[in-house]
Structures are given as C-alpha cells and as structure tokens.
C-alpha cells in the first residue's frame, strides 16, 4: 500500500462514517432550528432504529453474515428493513414530541432538554432489559463485492451507504426548499410567531421535524448495523455525540451545515487515527470543534439569524 492508497482508503472509511454522522446530525439540526431545543433522545432513537432493522432482517430468516441475497430479494428485504426502522423511529419521535415535549413548550428554561435526556435513558434501559447488554450480530445480506482503486478497497456496502445517504439528504433538501411544509418549516425556524400569524400550523411543523429527524436516525441506525455487522445497546452515545458535534460544527439549525459537518467529522476521525493514533481521535475532534467555535461561534455554515435577538 502506497501512502496515496492509504490516504484514499482512509478517506473512504471517513466518508462512510461521515455519511452516518450526517444523517444523524440532521435530526439534531432540524429540531434545533425550529425549537431551539437540543434533543438528546435522538441518541437512542438511533440505537432503537438499529435494533428495529436487525429484528426486521431476522424476520426474513437472515442471521449473521452467512446468508447472501442478490437481485430483487436483496432490494426488497433492504427496503422493508429501511422502511420499518424509519417509520418506527419516526413514530417514536412524534410520540416524544406530542406527549412529552409539547406540554413543556411554553415552559422556559431547560425542562424540555432535561426531558429529552430522561427519554434517552428510558429508551436505553428498555432495550437493555429486553435485549441485553452484549453485542448482537447484525445480519448482512449484501454480497461481498469489492472494487480495487489502486491499492485501496471499496466495498459494495460503502457505495450503498453513500447512495442511500445522498438520496435521503437530497430528498430532505428538496423537502425543506420546495414543498409547502418545508417552506413552513423554514418560516417557523426564522420566526415562529410571525409564521403563526401568517397561518402556519406550528404544531404540525414541529411534529414533522421530529418525524423526519427521527426517521433519518432510524435509517442511520440501519446503516450502522450494515456497516459494522453489529448492534449494541450503547452505540447511541458515541455516535450521537459525534453527530451532535457535527451539527454544531456545521452550524446548528442549518441543514446543509449538518451534512458538511458530518462528513468533516468522519474524515477527521479517519485521518487523525491514521496520522496521530486512535487514542487521540476524540481530543482532535473536539479540539477542532472548540477552535471553530472560538473563531466562528455560529459554526462553519451557520448564519446569525436576523430575528433571534
């Protein structure tokens, strides 16, 4: 492996991580953009998504990495698993918003944020009690196809993850930019009061943000399982913290910012592991975050909102 190959390989690793972080970061950013609330339950909605996908795949009789599917069955199984984890996670997100956060919306102070931390632990412990604390073998029906680019190896799994992430992010961008509901979301983010006066149904907008963000976390959870062939009750904390960092790095509340932030964090993680050592990865990631915030407090792509004074 030449140095160039090595860095290419690490870039491939980093992009895959980044795709996962980006999807997860979007959930933080959507909710924050509209409610100025950091939703910590997002960490474990992601984890639940990974287990929903695992159980769905197992219902098709898949276990471990021994059963390989191709063609239509593969596409079908993957679609069903993605839909299942996205729908269920979206529903959990909506339930959290409707029953736990909406009653608190008028309450000033950190009550809502603390509630999300509580929900996060409830989800964590519910899964812990029902599934256990050990690592679970995540079924992976993808054929082990690999492509060589020089000395670097690109696996089918990585290509698939990139494509899925791009499709989801493209869809979200379209949704936010061009649909009625998306425009309503942006309007609410800019100024909820004015939006309400213009006839925007704020409740519906908030609920949509939770649904979309949580559904993306579900997709991200499934991607996690496919990528590592493993799921575990504590995966939410490590991945969630990185994703949250990505959202802040990109400028929290800013949709393209979350995508860029996620990819950047993924690349930084891979390259710092290569150049410095994995023991230092967290130090480097959070060091960069602190530096960015010192010089550009709104994040890389964030703008100071005109009405949020």
């Amino acid at each position: 492996m030449t140095t160039a190959d090595l860095f290419l390989q690490q870039a491939i690793n980093g992009l895959s991580l980044g795709a996962m972080y980006s999807l997860l970061a979007l959930g933080f950013t959507l909710v924050y953009g509209i409610m100025e609330l950091i939703n910590f339950s997002h960490f474990n909605v992601f984890m639940v998504g990974s287990f929903v996908a695992m159980v769905t795949l197992q219902m098709f009789g898949l276990s471990g990495q021994d059963t390989i599917l191709t063609g239509l069955p593969l596409v079908g199984v993957m679609l069903v698993a993605f839909l299942a984890s996205m729908t269920l996670c979206g529903a959990i997100g909506v339930a959290i918003e409707r029953f736990l956060l909406r009653p608190l919306r008028a309450v000033k102070g950190p009550a809502a944020m603390i509630t999300t931390i509580g929900v996060s632990y409830v989800l964590f412990n519910a899964v812990l009690l029902s599934i256990g604390a050990d690592s679970k073998n995540f079924p992976n029906p993808l054929p082990p196809l690999t492509f060589a680019i020089g000395g670097a190896v690109l696996r089918l799994r990585e290509i698939l993850i990139w494509i899925i992430s791009l499709v989801l992010m493209g869809g979200l961008t379209y949704f936010v930019q061009f649909t009625r509901l998306g425009k309503a979301m942006r309007a609410t983010a800019q100024d909820p009061e004015a939006a309400r006066m213009m006839g925007v149904e704020v409740d519906r907008v908030v609920m949509t943000a939770f649904f979309v963000g949580s559904a993306l976390a579900g997709a991200s959870g499934m991607i996690f399982g496919l990528y590592y062939n493993l799921s575990k009750v504590d995966i939410g904390f490590a991945a969630g913290l990185r994703a949250f960092t990505a959202a802040v790095l990109g400028g929290i509340g800013n949709v393209p910012g979350a995508m860029v932030g996620g990819v950047l964090i993924g690349l930084i993680e891979a390259l710092s592991g290569q150049v410095v050592g994995t023991a230092w990865t967290d130090v480097i990631i959070f060091g960069i975050l602190v530096l960015v915030l010192v010089f550009k407090p709104v994040g890389l792509m964030g703008r100071v909102a005109p009405n949020k004074s």
Partner: protein, 413 residues
C-alpha cells in the same frame, strides 16, 4: 393481599425450601458462612461470568449436601460488578461490592473478581477488612506484585489469591508461541485501555521485542467507540505478520468483525479476554475464525480426569464448564478445605483465620493440578494454554467449548 413482590418472594422461598429443605431443616443450628462470588454478570462478559460462577456454586452446594464441614453451611452470594452504563465490569461497582462484603461479618471469604480492573478497585478495600478473595480469572500482575503492595494491600498480608497464572506469563508466553511456533516476524500491538488490556499488551510487547519480533506499532482502542476501520487500515498498510490485542470483549468483538474485513490474512491473537462465548456470539463466524487466545490455567476440561466434574456440572446447570469454571471451582474448594481445617482443629472460623488457612493451602490433587500460593497470593504452578478458533459446524457456533480448539501450552518466558 399478595403483592407481586411478596408473591415472588414466597415462590422463591418455596423453591429454596424444596432444594435445601432437608439440610437446612436438619441442621438448623449450623453456622452459615457467606462467600461472595463477585463477577461481571451484567454486560459484555455476562455469559462467561455465569459459567464461572456456577463452578463455585457447585462446589459449595456439594459441600453442603455431603455435610463436608461439620456444623458449617456455605452460602454463596452473587455480587455483580457489571453495570449497564459501563456495558462491562465497573470498578466503582466492584468497590461498592467489596465494601458491602467487608462491612458484613457474615462473609468469611470471596471468589472473584473476574476482571483485573475490578480487582484493582476491590483489593485495597478487602485488604483493609482482611477479607481474602480468590480470583478465578483476573490476571493483571500488579495486584499481587509486592512492588505495589502499598496500593493494593495496605494491610500487608496477601488477600488477593489466584487460581490462575498472571499476564506476566500470559502475554510473554504468547509472544514466545508466536516467535517459536507461528514463526511471526512482525507484529502490531493494540490494547483496550483497561487495566487488564494495557498490562497484558505491555508484557507481550516487551517479550516480543526480546524474541526479535519487530513491533511495528502500538495503539489504544476506545472500547466505547465503534469504528476501528481507521486503525486497521493503518495496520494493513504496515503489513505485519500478526496482530496482538490485549483486552476484553467490548472492543474485542468490534475489532474481530472489522479486522476480518480489512486484514483477513494477518495472524490475530489475544489473551483470555478473547476466549469467550460473547466473542463467538457478537462477532460470529467467519469473523472470529483463526483467532488465537490464551488461558492462564492448564486446559483440563478435555482431560478424562475432569469428566466426572463436567458431568455433575452439566447435570446441575445444563451448561459445559470452561477452564475458568474449573479455576473457580478450585477456588471454592480451597475455601472449603480452609474452613474444614479450622473446624477440625477446633479453631474459630472468621475472616482472619480463613485468610491464614487459605495462605497455608497445600492441595496436591485439584482438577487443575497442585494448588499452593506464594506469599503474594499468586499460584505457584503456572501454565498458559493456547487455543485457536476453528469452526466446528457439528456443534453450536456460540459454544466456546466446541469452537476453541486447544493447540498446546505456550512456552515459558
């Protein structure tokens, strides 16, 4: 009204009476002595913890059943040092358990802990209470090393006994095995940043260098992180003959999974932290195929001498014992013999006398061979066994007994 909890208690009481009714009824005046079995029942090592604990439980149940020690009933008590938050052993919980045992005079000795990180937290507390524990599997050498006596046994006397060898042998002997048997020329060393992992990786690395194996690098895994592709890609670019991982299952499962994809042809080895059902379950085949793991005790579960024990164990728990089940059973036997010796000599049975009796143990014919401790609590007879994972489709794929093949004894350093 019968609440759910009291109903449960009542049911448990009935079950207990059904099992122990005869002995407890007939010997109501028996002195009941408690023995803590502190292992990591929650988290990544739960499977092995149960398997190990059952070894001790069997020994005490049999001693009670056959009234081996006159007038004494042993009561094994499980204490869990694993927590859900840690996902594995938690030193803080281990310390809490140690305090709990020390503060209750009913405890005369203990078995455990399973993990060295827990042992480091427990040892000073047990020392202050002069409560002896016998660990079936924690192998970090520092805990019994006289160099660190001020830290781990401030009271002076040894209270941390082992029925296993230490990583001072496990790591280096595996380095010898790599150099002499596997003809490895270069290696990359990883650890999982835990007490056990760092210790075993350090001692492996030192001996590997001494044997002329080129150590291409050393890095540390965060057991809570999920992505090790970065470090594995770096290792791939260095093209080593072998990878040595010092650590337990939490990082080990993820490492095995990802290593299989990135460096499939590199020889991979670990210590006893990689000898578990959790690895087979979490990482699974084909990822775990070919991994080497060592065990700091002689391999006896295939030995015809232990067949009777294995059968009794299976009949009671419907599980196969592993080698650390045997070391835990031996530890329990040491405690039983110590108490028996005291009772027969008419001496009082308390934690001070039991500690001294354990220290003086001399049993020549346990399942794992002769058992004697040196003045630090270390086992005098040290053997490191090497295993390799080879898929056996005729047996359950997550049964360590079937999937780890014994390949020999690692040469002494």
């Amino acid at each position: 009204m019968l609440t759910r909890r009291s109903a449960f208690k009542a049911a448990a009481g009935i079950a207990a009476t059904a099992t122990f009714g005869v002995t407890q009824g007939a010997y109501a005046a028996d002195m009941v002595v408690k023995v803590g079995i502190n292992l990591s029942y929650t988290g990544a090592d739960s499977e092995s913890a149960t398997r190990v604990a059952n070894g001790g439980i069997l020994a005490f149940e049999e001693a009670n059943k056959y009234k081996e020690v006159k007038g004494v009933t042993f009561e094994p008590v499980k204490l869990d040092d694993g927590t859900a938050t840690a996902g594995q052993y938690d030193p803080a919980q281990a310390a809490t358990n140690a305090r709990k045992m020390v503060s209750d005079k009913g405890y005369i000795a203990a078995l455990g802990p399973q993990m060295s990180g827990a042992g480091k937290a427990m040892s000073p507390i047990l020392s202050a209470g002069n409560l002896a524990t016998i660990t079936p599997s924690s192998t970090n050498p520092d805990i019994t090393d006289p160099k660190f006596a001020a830290q781990y046994r401030p009271n002076g006397k040894a209270i941390y006994f082992r029925t296993v060898a230490t990583d001072a042998y496990q790591g280096p002997n595996m380095a010898n095995y790599m150099a002499d048997v596997l003809k490895v020329k270069s290696v990359f060393v990883l650890d999982d940043s835990g007490a056990y992992g760092v210790g075993i990786a350090d001692s492996f690395q030192a001996q590997a260098e001494k044997k002329g194996i080129k150590v291409l690098g050393r890095d540390r895994l965060d057991p809570k992180a999920v992505d090790y592709a970065t470090i594995l890609t770096k290792i791939k670019s260095m093209n080593p003959d072998a990878l040595y991982y010092g650590g337990v299952g939490q990082a080990g499962v993820k490492l095995a999974k990802q290593a299989y994809e990135i460096i499939p042809n590199v020889i991979k080895a670990g210590g006893d932290g990689m000898q578990s059902a959790d690895l087979l379950k979490g990482a699974g085949f084909p990822a775990v195929e070919g991994w080497y793991a060592t065990v700091a005790s002689p391999h006896v579960t295939d030995d015809p001498k232990t067949k009777d024990f294995s059968d009794r164990y299976f009949a009671r728990f419907n599980l196969r014992p592993d080698d650390y089940t045997v070391t835990c059973y031996t530890g329990a036997r040491v405690i039983i013999e110590a108490v028996k010796m005291l009772v027969n000599a008419g001496k009082p049975v308390n934690r001070d006398t039991v500690r001294d009796a354990i220290q003086a143990t001399k049993i020549s014919n346990t399942l794992q061979g002769p058992v004697e401790f040196d003045e630090n609590g270390d086992l005098k007879n040290k053997v490191i066994s090497v295993f390799q994972i080879k898929k056996d489709t005729t047996k359950p794929l997550d049964d360590p007994d079937a999937q780890y093949k014994y390949v020999g004894v690692a040469p002494m350093a």
